[in-house]
Symmetry: C2
Subunit: 661 residues, 2 copies
């Protein structure tokens, strides 16, 4: 991909971006504020910049007159980078870089963690659960009329040193015709046992040599979304991936409402059917996208939280939501895919990730397995943040886990203008420290409809660092801006005015929103602290953080540390593992070692019911501040705030520091 | 059952029979001939006897005048024994006991072999494949909120020393509700592995204590008939048994025509569905008869010939009938009963007997296992005679088997008036050596409709010993009886005249019938001889004979030896094992040892394709005589024939020897 340098003036900050990058997004990456409240759709017209050198595509609108355009003025939100650029932020858009350089630390620095397939191969661990063997069998004669199955098994024994073979009924049903249609040259698919010495199953037989085509499907069953991948079991590559909303969404947004739905007559069957239908839809899509023959799919692996897993297996999840929160089972035997209603061959077995407890499910176990955390020396904090945040702490020697009910704030729930991370959601934000005017960046660069979880964190963190809100999430009543106002006794900050939005209402962040956010992040942070205390450790002992889940992958690390959602740690020691559940499902397609290890791992992983621990409540109350009552846990932030406080003493409130040159 | 002595005069032969026994059947058991060609329905009126002492029920008909009745005359075929009796055969019915005492050796002497359950228990082998355990689990608390399955498994480990437990999906699906509806007191059903060290599956969970109710279904899937039993797995008793025609009969009488039918579109599915429907019907009946709750059925075992087994499993049997006669498989994995369409709980596994080859099937293996032949010291000849006769020879050290195509003669096929063993079939027979008048006894004591297999053997043997037919099955043209006649160039003996039958035609035995019989018995005998020769032995080395199958159970041993179907052996060394297939199925419900042993037995059992052996054809040709070309193999018969020949020289043809007193 072609890249270009963009130099922002007067800040004199240069950044390297991909050709075609939106200019306002380039600015926020550079830590340069440009006023923009409409989210990037060109409605508010505030993001005027001057292109002093180079060319952009677009940015010419009716908000600019002919003269401006000739001077090089463009609307940044509608401009994309074509060449190296020199961009000047005109005086009306210029901001205090002296404050903003606090943000100059690269954002989203954490690397996306990716499994190293070559490494797996080097270690001899690339061993998919299913394997194909091409066989040229001797044809039967009157003197050698062994049963077809016996012929196959004997040949595998004699020529491939395969022992303890069992042949499944679907193979028995088709073997005779397959052998004879291909003159006894066939490909047998062998399902490997998890433990050596156990039986290898012959699950499929095909005419001719199909050994070059062997695939698996990996599925992550999320409460909201379901993802499926086609994995090439010969190369280890992901050939296609698709995601879609879990069809169960119509029956309740979260796990609890789904469980309640299963209490209705036919409810369990319905939710089971609906999620299987979603998976089948995805299988169809990925198979088409990868252009493979569905008959070549030999396995399917699945991971999901405990409730999603139970619903997929048609196991009643009723008791998951009733104290003392006992799931039916956390281990699941291999299950014939067709028995679950999956549109796959009758030879395909579904391998389902085990769970730990009612609220630490197979999705988390998949992440722990797939990320390799369970084999690492380093003390790792693994977090998957959603309505429930699951936390796992440990290393190769021990693992402790817990689930915190964070509430739906991170998914937009309980937030006045909260929404999921979808088109029109404010996902990024900065604030002019003088005018307190916002720069909203929305998903899809359209006029805003609301605020998503990662946007909420960034907004709160930015406002907190700028003193717009205090450490209890209350707005500074003394600030000189019309954006902060009191409506019906509730203080709020208007992020976008009515005419700049898609919803024809002012979009604001309220104090109750901030309260919900603080309680959500407080629950998660105190969960981590409590879990560590239970094993005699402190936050400072954490070597690294793995962030799983869609939300975890979009969160702005530094902002998350500012609000005290994450402990303050070198961002290079944070890894985004993305969809850990899907990664784990994929990994168990690539190495049977995972399946061998996972049972031991689940036994080793101690589940803590936080509400049953002595210290959780005290830790929670201590975390109900931004970032925390104990500022010493956030030394860098503490230093910045002290620095800012000193500057404000010099400059007065809303003080305007000179741009750094 | 009350028994009574019946003394027949003037023969002075006494016999002990059950009260209610038909008098003509008592006579034939005693070896006393009474003329009777109508099969026992009272039509011919020839079977007049005088009751000299005691009382009979019935026997008074319009064929007897008042005076006769007062003298004690009764029609034997309509009289049943009420008390001890003295019965005189009047002169018109009196026969040559000098010849008939050849029959005085008790017929059907071979004992019905029955498995000794106590013996099994004494040896510690009473170990059904499924076992129930009653468990009082601790209820979960906030401090102890193990998943339900983990709670169950841990408890079994801790308190019952059960290890390597896996829990099946149906149990996971119901465990939570079952535990809570019964305050955590439950009964778990454990399916035992065949080999120690393998996993025990928890297949079912029920509220409360159901350990006293644990049942299995044993099924024999015959080509013609299907039998099912309910086995009590606590006591080992058979609680109910039912048989019915295999629903596949409408699609072809024999295995070959069924296989041909599977070649039609949808044919395999149809035959599969139809036999499963038959089994389901039988399950319903036996469950009702035994008055058990179907939910308490924990296992089903099945045995059948290779084709019947494959059809029940929906495995295409096409290649069974095509040279070189290769079946798809002879070993079958455990299969979920519901996957086969069986109306049983989803926890029930179907255990299917393995086969040896296309024509030595699981029914034979079941007989070999169930009869214990595979563990015996004695060299045993096991035979199951039907359209195909399967032969197994061997002992605990070696086993050889083969199948001979006997043709359908023993099932009434290819015999002009042949029929299955059903009501109206002539099943027993004797012949007045002077008048050559017949005594026909039919199944159900009704007028004859035809001749069944066992009847055919008895008729042929009787006629041969009396010189009515020669050793090639040709009628003696010189005999003075209207019953032997030539019709359209074919010689025949009229067993019943038109008016005495149900079919309004003369029922006769023809020379082509005899020819078919000789070829059928010749194939079987020469099969045994060939099999023995292949292992370096002779007929004389056989220690004992096991006769399996419906036909095997009804055959008159001595008669079978007379025609050379069986080798001449002390009848006490012959055992009827009845339905060996059903017995084997039942046995594998009672002891897992069978399942453990059976794979080794199938490996040990050498299958011979008789047509591929060098000597079969020569042996076959030698056996196409009554009883055989080599009379020295039948020394007792030889002696009797010589004796008879000498008598005839004294008395002339149709000679009338004096009754023995």
């Amino acid at each position: 991909m072609e890249k270009h340098h963009v130099l922002f003036l007067p800040h004199n900050v240069e950044i390297l971006v991909e050709k075609g990058e939106n200019l306002i997004r380039a600015a926020i990456q550079a830590g340069v504020h440009i006023n923009a409240s409409c989210g990037g759709e060109g409605v508010c017209g505030k993001c005027r910049v001057i292109i002093e050198d180079g060319n952009v595509d677009g940015g010419v609108t009716e908000k600019l007159d002919r003269e401006d355009i000739e001077k090089g003025y463009r609307q940044a939100c509608l401009s994309s980078v074509l060449t190296d650029l020199v961009v000047r932020i005109p005086i009306e858009s210029e901001v205090d870089a002296g404050v903003l350089n606090l943000q100059q630390m690269p954002r989203k620095t954490a690397r996306i963690w990716e499994m190293n397939l070559d490494d797996l191969k080097d270690k001899g661990l690339f061993m998919p659960p299913v394997e194909k063997k091409y066989l040229e069998l001797p044809e039967p004669t009157a003197q050698d009329n062994l049963p077809d199955v016996t012929r196959l098994v004997s040949f595998l024994k004699a020529t491939h040193d395969e022992h303890r073979l069992v042949v499944e009924l679907p193979v028995i049903r088709k073997i005779s015709d397959v052998l004879r249609q291909s003159h006894f040259t066939v490909t047998a698919t062998l399902a490997r046992p998890v433990q050596s010495g156990r039986k290898t199953q012959i699950i499929h037989i095909q005419p001719g040599d199909t050994t070059s085509r062997n695939y698996a499907i990996a599925v992550d069953i999320g409460t909201t979304t379901v993802y499926a991948q086609v994995i090439d079991l010969i190369t280890g590559d992901v050939l296609a991936q698709f995601g879609d909303y879990n069809g169960q969404i119509s029956y309740g947004e979260d796990v609890i409402s789904r469980i309640i739905y299963t209490g209705k007559p036919g409810g369990l069957d319905k939710l089971h059917e609906v999620v299987i239908a979603t998976i089948n839809k995805l299988i169809k899509k990925v198979v088409k996208k990868a252009r493979i023959d569905p008959d070549e799919i030999s396995a399917i692996t699945m991971a999901g939280n405990t409730t999603m897993t139970q619903l997929a297996l048609k196991v009643n999840p009723k008791y998951i939501r009733l104290s003392p929160y006992v799931p039916a089972s956390t281990l699941y035997p291999p299950i014939k895919a067709v028995d679950l209603g999956l549109s796959l061959g009758d030879h395909v077995t579904a391998l389902v990730y085990p769970a730990i407890s009612s609220y630490v499910g197979g999705d988390i176990v998949a992440g722990v397995m797939g990320s390799g955390m369970y084999r690492a020396e380093e003390l790792t904090l693994f977090m998957d943040i959603g309505t429930n945040a699951e936390i796992v702490i440990g290393n190769k020697d021990w693992l402790a886990c817990a689930s915190c009910s964070a509430g739906p704030a991170f998914e937009g729930g309980g937030i006045k203008f909260g929404m999921r991370a979808a088109k029109g959601a404010i996902e990024d934000f900065s604030l002019d420290p003088v005018s307190l005017e916002p720069m909203n960046i929305t998903i899809g660069n359209v006029r805003p409809k609301g605020i998503c979880g990662s946007g909420l964190i960034t907004i709160a963190a930015t406002m907190f660092e700028m003193g717009v809100i205090d450490n209890q999430g209350k707005f500074n009543r003394d600030l000189n801006t019309s954006r902060i106002r009191e409506t019906d006794g509730i203080y709020e900050y208007v992020l976008a005015w009515k005419h700049e939005t898609q919803i024809d209402r002012d979009i604001a962040l309220t104090e109750p929103d901030l309260d919900n956010l603080i309680r959500a992040k407080g629950a998660i942070f105190s969960g981590c602290v409590t879990l560590l205390e239970e094993v005699g450790l402190r936050m400072q002992d954490i070597d690294r953080i793995f962030l799983a889940g869609g939300f975890g992958s979009y969160v702005d690390l530094e902002k998350a540390m500012v609000i005290g959602l994450l402990p303050e740690i070198d961002p290079h020691r944070v890894r985004f593992i993305g969809n850990g559940s899907l990664m784990g499902a994929k990994m168990s397609c690539l190495t049977n070692r995972i399946r061998k290890d996972v049972v031991a791992v689940t036994k080793r992983m101690t589940n803590f019911e936080l509400s049953e621990t002595r210290s959780f409540m005290a830790n929670y109350v201590a975390a109900l501040f931004l970032p925390h009552t104990d500022m010493d846990q956030f030394p860098k932030l503490k230093a910045r705030l002290e620095n800012r406080s000193n500057m404000q003493k010099v400059l007065g409130k809303n003080g305007h520091a000179p741009p750094t040159r």
